[in-house]
Amino acid sequence: MSQQKTQPESTLPKNLAADPRFLAVERTIKQYQFRADALIEVLHVAQEAFGYLSEELMSYVARQLKIPYSRVYGVATFYHFFSLEPRGKHSCVVCTGTACYVKRSSEIVARLEQEFDVRAGKTTADGALTLSTVRCLGSCGLAPVMVLDGETVGRCSSESAVAAVHVLIDSGRTPGSIAAEEQSRRKRRGGGA
């Protein structure tokens, strides 16, 4: 409350106000004219900017939209997209939709859990990897599918999945970026014909 007195135009705690990522959240709230029904859209932007929803972020959103904190917390915990804990540096999401299930994606999840010593939905102790599962990405033609740092990788096997995640953690490269590099290298060698 004392912070509000020193900074009348912002209701933010100091540590958040100094954060440029927060601007995006503030802009969204203003764009929706502080309307309570924009809550989910605001949380989407907040999650994207910060990676997860901290308590102070949620209480700030609650104050701005003039709704109780319990409602923000209720919505944030209801939807799978929102995370209340910081995420790992890299993410691996394995699809467990029906088509992937029929092609045994559960075995891939089990292998990854074992290999990286992390439960699905959690982050490794060193913060390098968040392993999670999702219900159908709609890429059923490529089943089983996983998503590495936002890039969809199809037709996985337990072995290829483990190998790709190792590469991702060690070098930050995904199979797609490796293929693109190779292609540009080949083109350079070919003299751009």
């Binding site: 939807y79 219900r135 709609g138 059923c140 033609g141 490529l142």
Partner: protein
């Protein structure tokens, strides 16, 4: 933009395309993109620029072409003749292009034969533009006849006539339940209210279904046009598209499409010079299956937890912010411009007596060619699996097809000749659902499949009503006991009892249909359940059942727990 300008825009684009000697289309739907379509498209664009043939040859990214498992797909159109190439690499793409430039015959290695049943047996109505227009250019949609249905309705039809046309066409909801669309529109039109809303339900949550994603990605303007027609028919000025959070590309393309349509005066105030105003906003889902249910979806649009409320009153009477709200599935709305454009009679001429038009299916699982298909209502499952899909790979046997996702049921081999329409599917204990069609071969264990779906429903239950929240957990627990070989026949009876209870007493569709996969697998594959319980073995070899502890206690324990011999 007024009517004449729309016509001119369409005509100019048509002429531009006709002047082209060759148009190369690269599928830029999510599955092909993840199979590497982007480098292919870039290679083609570079090659076109290098050979200084920009005027005569065009390389564009389009929406889904269908056979997703064969991606990346490239379609080459030379003077109206089209050839589709599968699994195209950037090198192969350049080869194709240069042989076209030099007037030689393009390589035939990766070319799919035009008479391939996958293409020949389909009838594309909703997907007519998918894979042949660039979804990011409004001109191409207009050139294929887009927005002419809206223009026709606004200038020559009254809202009542639009509703009547939809009723006559026999169009039914493509989201699952198959409710007559015309009836819903009329209800919303007659409902008293200052403000009304149109909602497109693009929260396609069924695992194994991606028809709506594909329509939104490949032909976003078709959905917008359908929504605008719905808005005109019921008297709404505001629409929402609820897009599933996982569908980034669909959301991005819709956003761009809305912006373009507004700029051209096809959305916004005074659409096409008429007195009709219509705005569309996007709402992004945040990962909750229950939000596909209409009342939960509205709660989510209003920024709340996606929990259902009791019906009636139905959304068409009291929906968003208490106003009449029309909620239709994306595929339903995408069919609307066709109904208005080609006429209700044409549409009603396709399909069966009570199921009209075509249906899009996402064919996946253990089948040779997986992908997105569109067939007339009433096409048999055998045609879909063995002709269009090319049968079961590696010489295995067809075992079952799952329709309708976690709310549906499975179709065993003896019903392969069932026509796929609302009534016939209901008669054999499953539903049309939104169009997911997952094919399973002999290695799939049916109790395990049921357990998979119950796990899904247990996880996705919103927790508001007790039968669904507690019932799905209990049912899943019982199924796990069956698949791990620790169940007794008593557990099976309890499971059947719970199926009745949960189905009859749940608040919304999620709970009401959650038992369906169990009921339908029990109906056709009861012997498999009993093999797990009585013989402690999995006929499909999918479940790992640990052997009983040595000694006489094992079987005796089972019998003591009540496994009556006479039960069947």
């Amino acid at each position: 933009m007024i009517r004449a300008e729309l016509k001119r825009m369409a005509e100019e684009e048509r002429q531009r395309q006709e002047r082209l000697f060759c148009r190369i289309m690269v599928c830029a739907g999510t599955p092909c993109l993840s199979a590497g379509a982007l480098p292919v498209l870039e290679a083609l664009r570079e090659a076109v620029a290098e050979s200084r043939l920009d005027a005569g040859i065009e390389a564009v990214g389009t929406g889904c072409m269908g056979p997703c498992s064969r991606g990346p797909l490239v379609k080459v159109r030379i003077r109206g003749k089209e050839t589709v190439y599968e699994r195209v690499t950037p090198e192969l793409a350049r080869q194709i292009l240069f042989s076209v430039v030099k007037g030689r015959r393009p390589p035939t290695v990766a070319a799919l034969p035009p008479e391939l049943p996958f293409f020949a047996r389909q009838m594309k109505v909703v997907l007519a533009n998918s894979g042949s227009i660039n979804p990011e250019r409004i001109e191409e949609y207009a050139a294929s006849g887009g927005y002419s249905a809206l223009s026709h309705a606004l200038h020559e039809m009254t809202p009542e006539e639009v509703c009547r046309e939809i009723s006559t066409s026999g169009l039914r909801g493509r989201g699952g339940a198959g409710y007559p669309t015309g009836v819903k529109w009329n209800l919303a039109r007659k409902a008293p209210g200052e403000r009304k809303y149109v909602v497109a339900n693009g929260d396609e949550g069924d695992p194994g279904a991606y028809m709506d994603r594909s329509v939104m990605e490949s032909d976003p303007h078709r959905v917008l046009e359908g929504m605008a027609l719905a808005g005109y028919a019921i008297g709404a000025e505001q629409g929402f598209i609820y897009v599933r959070g996982e569908y980034y590309l669909a959301g991005r393309r819709l956003e761009a499409a809305i912006r373009d349509a507004e700029r051209k005066g096809l959305l916004g105030s005074r659409v096409l010079g008429s007195n009709f105003n219509f705005r569309i906003d996007i709402r992004t889902g945040a990962g909750a299956f229950v939000c596909g249910e209409e009342t939960s979806l509205m709660a989510s649009i209003m920024g709340k937890r996606g929990q259902p409320w009791h019906r009636p009153p139905y959304p068409a009477q009291r929906g968003l912010w208490g106003s009449p709200t029309l909620i239709n599935n994306v595929e339903t709305l995408a069919a609307v411009p066709v109904v208005i454009g080609r006429g209700a009679d044409w549409f009603a001429g396709v399909g069966t007596a009570r199921s009209k038009g075509t249906k899009v299916y996402a064919l996946s699982g253990q089948v040779e060619t997986t992908g997105l298909i569109e067939v007339p209502m009433g096409t048999t499952l055998r045609e879909v699996v063995f002709e269009i899909g090319g049968g079961i790979p590696s010489g295995k046997q067809f075992k079952a097809a799952q329709t309708g996702g976690p709310s549906g049921g499975s179709i065993p081999a003896e019903h392969l000749d069932t026509p796929l329409d609302y009534e016939s599917l209901e008669a054999i204990g499953t539903i049309m659902g939104s169009g997911g069609l997952i094919i399973m071969d002999e290695t799939s264990c049916m109790p395990d499949v049921a357990s998979f779906f119950l796990d899904f429903c247990r996880d996705e239950s919103c927790g508001k009503c007790v039968p669904c929240r507690v019932g799905t957990i209990e049912m899943h627990r019982l199924l796990r006991r069956i698949t791990s070989g620790t169940a007794t026949m008593d557990d099976l009876y309890r499971l059947e009892e719970l199926c009745d209870l949960v189905g009859a007493t749940s608040l919304c569709g999620l709970g009401m249909t959650a038992p369906n996969p169990v009921v339908s697998t029990l109906r056709y594959f009861r012997a498999e359940y009993e093999a797990h319980i009585r013989e402690r073995r999995c006929p499909a070899g999918a479940c790992s059942i640990e052997p009983l502890p040595p000694g006489p206690e094992g079987p005796e324990l089972l019998h003591a727990a009540g496994a009556p011999e006479e039960a069947d």
